[in-house]
Subunit: 213 residues, 2 copies
Amino acid sequence: MVDIDLRLYVITDERLTLENGLVEKVRQAIEGGATAIQYRAKNKSSKQIYREATALKKLCREYGVPLIINDRVDIVAGIDADGVHVGQDDLPVEVVRRIIGNSKIVGLSTKTLEQVVEANTLPVDYIGFGSVFPTTTKKDATLSGIEMLKEAVKLSIQPVVAIGGINADNIEKVLQTGCKNIAVVSAVFSANNPLKAAQILKQKLLKGRRWRA
Amino acid sequence: MVDIDLRLYVITDERLTLENGLVEKVRQAIEGGATAIQYRAKNKSSKQIYREATALKKLCREYGVPLIINDRVDIVAGIDADGVHVGQDDLPVEVVRRIIGNSKIVGLSTKTLEQVVEANTLPVDYIGFGSVFPTTTKKDATLSGIEMLKEAVKLSIQPVVAIGGINADNIEKVLQTGCKNIAVVSAVFSANNPLKAAQILKQKLLKGRRWRA
């Protein structure tokens, strides 16, 4: 298993591009305390995805923060990113692992406890679980809620990253389930000041850690 | 360079799925004389693309016909397809070649004579050129016309595959330019009988060859 700090896992907003501040905003997220970056683009051309991922790779290397690419294993190979995150509608993780080898991080989105249990048997390094709260980023996201997250954390043999509508106001509820890692998009990128927004989340994550020390 | 018969290069219609006859229609295209198949899907999930490409790989192996995947280099690696076809908005061919190695076919779409000349310096096995005629398959396709195709064939050091609105009524015009290879989508898959439609195109291609013998 690859060792990776997933506590504040910041996922890029598809609306950000090289022209409108993608790199600068991700830099702010990192300076605010992001421990891992996921580059996510579903509706951009492969050329644009390649260009943006290349720019983020350079940035993440500069800060020593891992860069995970959503879905596109070819982009991981093309830019030598640190790993890939796949959903239930992406390539099967066994296939991903065959393409990508064992030295890269592979993460998998889960939405149900059945998927969490199944993931225990799969060659993944962590799982995402959610949506914990309603989210505006992903339409048709399945709502799992806090209680099911608690179960997911108990059931999973892998690190669990909670995702979906998490922000500075509800992050404590997430941490109280025993989940140590959160993923966010809008909580950072829809903020006027992404650096400050990331800092506030990070402080609450660190505080959360002390509660259980 | 990989040796590949590109004369009747049949590209799948995105509307076809495993549930509505994708494999059966491609089988008919092959039995009608298709010499190469390209699987093209821009709006399907990676999981669906993987499932469909896996089914087509099995079919193409059965008939000894090469299977080229549009854009998605990860799918090529995942199913061990014969090659990849990229457009000007996909991954740069140098990157594709680095991911995929030298034993796979790499094709590149070109729309202008400048792109044809540039492709002469790139690690590709063939180029597509067009749209030769107006097409309903690709919105916003650049129209190049027959005269420019003639120039492209003269300028290119790689095999040229003419594409865009080619059908049984206008194929002779294409062959008269000196172009030996045609790519089609709707001429085969919008036909009531894809096998018959492919056969008619193939007969004209073979006849075209005699004209210049």
